[in-house]
């Protein structure tokens, strides 16, 4: 987690500083190391109180794998909203497209059983194609119109999946509201030397660890991809468009292509998330992809810190764990102890109210999010008279390398 910068101007010890410089220069390596450490530690943290009191370790690991889906979605949406400044309110549509792609390609519903690993790429590709199809006509629109059109798209896609059954169109394409069940789980060949099994990974509900590790690897790869793109010519073009589209266009940025690529990359990431989610839940239905999902992901991106991939990843992880574990536990806790008033409250019902309040409060008080990228924070506080050239010292945080 190298991109979480220390307080501004905090004195650094030379040894620490050179280590930081090294990791900043080798971002991909540091992402791999960081993700490896986090992935290794998390399963052990949850065996300690107070976490061990909430759920068994196995349940926790399963939750973490599901949290990873939202982390992926948040990283992808961050490319669109945080890096490129395009408000996409229908992001869950691409997630749905990824999930349904896998459901069609690997389930007893269609009778086709293509393995998970190639479908991970195919699902992402198909989501990306839809991203381009949606983006091509609409990305010329001004920002707020784009928001509405994506909102409409996010609403239409689940409607299509819901209505495309025998009763409505004569052919049962999607099994309607019931959704598609019996989706294949991922499989890996068993590799062994003699009796010693080097690789014997089973994916099922009883063994969430394999999902967890797969997810960690996907996130690591996507993070590396996003960071590499962010510092490339394309990434700089995204940020230029976010800051001033007109100025970017006059400086030779092809705004349409650039925005399309942002849309496509965002859709790709959510395609990964969709395929993974379908393979983990072994079930897809239109209700999993409504506006509340798009909204939740947006809340994760905003709270995590728009523009900072590590920040939104952290934000998504924390929000998911809070909503799926702590709110439930809080409800159970107050129920168990019969605390007056509080025991009548079902905290899970309040989550969207809390997200709404958090979104508004965040935009008013700390628009750069909880884990901001330094550059975005400067932008959002333009009226405070910060010189845009005044930046981090050399080798500062992750976003300092824009020049």
């Amino acid at each position: 987690m190298t991109a979480v910068a220390p307080a501004k101007n905090a004195p650094r010890r030379p040894a620490l500083r050179s280590a930081r410089d090294y990791l900043d220069r080798h971002r991909s390596l540091s992402i791999i190391i960081g993700m490896a450490i986090v992935t290794a530690i998390l399963p052990f943290i949850v065996t300690l109180p107070p976490f061990s009191g909430f759920d068994a370790q196995r349940v926790w690991i399963g939750s973490f794998a599901t949290a990873g889906i939202f982390v992926l979605l948040a990283i992808g949406l961050n490319v669109v909203v945080g890096l490129s400044g395009l408000l996409d309110l229908g992001y869950a549509a691409f997630y749905a497209i990824g999930a349904y792609t896998y459901a069609f390609a690997a389930s007893s519903f269609t009778g086709i059983h293509i393995p998970f690993w190639p479908m991970l790429l195919v699902g992402a590709l198909i989501a990306a194609i839809f991203g381009i199809l949606l983006g091509a006509p609409t990305l010329r629109l001004r920002g707020d119109y784009l928001a509405i059109v994506t909102l409409g798209f996010g609403e239409i896609v689940p409607i299509l999946f819901r209505n495309a059954d025998a009763r409505n169109i004569g052919v049962n394409l999607t099994n309607g509201t019931n959704g598609i069940g019996g989706i294949d789980r991922p499989t890996l060949p068993v590799i062994q030397i003699g009796d010693f099994k080097i690789l014997d990974v089973v994916f099922n509900a009883a063994n969430p660890l394999s999902y967890y590790l797969t997810m960690a690897i996907i996130i690591t790869l996507v993070l590396i991809l996003v960071y590499r793109l962010q510092d490339s010519r394309l990434g700089r073009a995204w940020q230029a468009i976010r800051e001033d589209e007109l100025a970017a266009a006059s400086n030779g940025v092809n705004t349409i292509t650039t925005k399309l690529l942002a849309f496509a990359l965002g859709a790709t990431t959510s395609g990964f998330a969709g395929v993974f989610s379908a393979s983990k839940l072994v079930f897809v239905s239109p209700d999993q992809f409504g506006f509340t999902v798009s909204f939740t992901i947006l809340a994760m991106v905003v709270l995590g810190g728009m523009g900072n991939s590590i920040g939104v990843a952290l934000g998504a992880f924390i929000i998911y764990v809070i909503q799926s574990v702590f709110l439930k536990q809080m409800t159970n806790f107050f129920d168990d102890f019969q605390v007056p008033i509080l025991s009548d409250i079902n905290f899970i019902e309040y989550q969207f109210l809390l997200y709404g309040i958090a979104l508004v409060a965040m935009m008013l008080l700390r628009p750069e999010g909880l884990f901001p990228s330094r550059q975005r924070a400067r932008e959002l506080h333009t009226d405070e008279g910060l010189d845009p050239m005044e930046g981090s010292p050399s080798g500062g945080d992750a976003e300092g390398s824009l020049a």
Partner: protein, 311 residues
């Protein structure tokens, strides 16, 4: 091949379309006014409409009118009282939202108020969810749907006529207010050029607050007539209703009040037509399709001015 049954059906559907369109038109006015003056898509506006319906429900229940009122005079008095109470209350809600969620971000990047708008929309929706629960709630049918008149073989509920009348009265009042009054002139000048208006002595904050007040009050009226027409209201009806009304506003040309009303009725007709053609389950998708087509091919809408690029 025109027979009596077809004429009856068409007449029936014509009145349905007028009623639904009138509701969309009332909501669309709020979108278009707010957009015209501060170029913000007030995502929370659909939820204000929904809150209006619930305020109407609460008011009618509180004064003890939950059933049909036979006496037309009593009915009119109760209805006017509901409008008189709910509309200003909603207006205040609108002012409050503007004051706390939008005004601090007036000079922030464009993304910021859009995100707070979505946040506000979720706050309103979930407050009502907690207040009334997830299931649809019966709205007091103070005008019985059985009170009907016959025209061209169709039996039409007076509610449809009532909605059109309410829309027409409110639209005329709004046009007079914007076109003739001093405050209306302040609104027009603020929409044209905020800085110049301020230099001419217009109080910008009051004017914008007033715009939110009027827009939200109109959405409140829409909420009441929606409840009367459909009979049930639910916490999540503002989302789709708002989106369709927004489509209406864009279709008519956002920023143009006459356009919003025109767009509202057009969306009403599109929706009823798709239902009549047996495509009711696709009605949402068709309306969004219309939105996308309008935005791509004629983003200024039917009556709107071409809009300049604003980063």
């Amino acid at each position: 091949m025109i027979d009596d049954a077809l004429i009856a059906t068409l007449t029936q559907q014509f009145f349905n379309a007028l009623a639904i369109g009138g509701i969309y038109a009332l909501i669309a006015l709020g979108y278009t006014m707010v957009y015209g003056i501060i170029e913000l898509i007030n995502f929370a506006h659909g939820e204000i409409f929904m809150v209006g319906a619930f305020f109407g429900l609460t008011f009618l229940t509180a004064i003890g009118f939950t059933g049909a009122i036979a006496n037309p005079i009593t009915f009119l008095v109760v209805l006017l009282a509901a409008f008189a109470v709910v509309m200003p209350l909603l207006g205040l809600v609108g002012i409050g939202i503007e004051r706390f969620a939008y005004r601090p971000l007036r000079n922030a990047p464009r993304l910021a108020p859009l995100i707070t708008a979505i946040g506000v929309s979720f706050i309103l929706q979930n407050i009502v969810y907690i207040w009334h629960g997830p299931s649809p709630v019966q709205f007091p049918q103070i005008l019985s749907p059985q009170v009907r008149f016959s025209i061209l073989g169709a039996s039409v509920s007076y509610i449809s006529v009532l909605i059109v009348a309410v829309t027409a009265v409110l639209l005329v009042a709004l046009q007079l207010f914007i076109g003739r009054s001093r405050l209306g002139r302040a609104m027009r000048s603020t929409a044209q050029d905020r800085d110049a208006a301020q230099l001419m002595g217009v109080n910008i904050n009051t004017t914008i607050a007033l715009t939110f007040f009027i827009g939200s009050a109109l959405a409140g009226a829409a909420g009441i007539v929606y409840g009367l027409y459909f009979g049930t209201i639910a916490f999540n009806m503002g989302f789709i209703g708002g989106l369709k009304a927004f489509t209406a506003a864009v279709l008519g040309g956002i920023g143009n009040t006459t356009g919003a009303v025109l767009g509202g009725f057009m969306i009403g007709f599109i929706e009823v037509l798709s239902a009549q053609l047996g495509l009711a389950i696709w009605a949402h998708a068709i309306v969004f399709g219309v939105l996308v087509i309008v935005l791509v091919f004629r983003p200024a809408g039917l009556l709107g001015q071409p809009i300049g690029e604003r980063a």
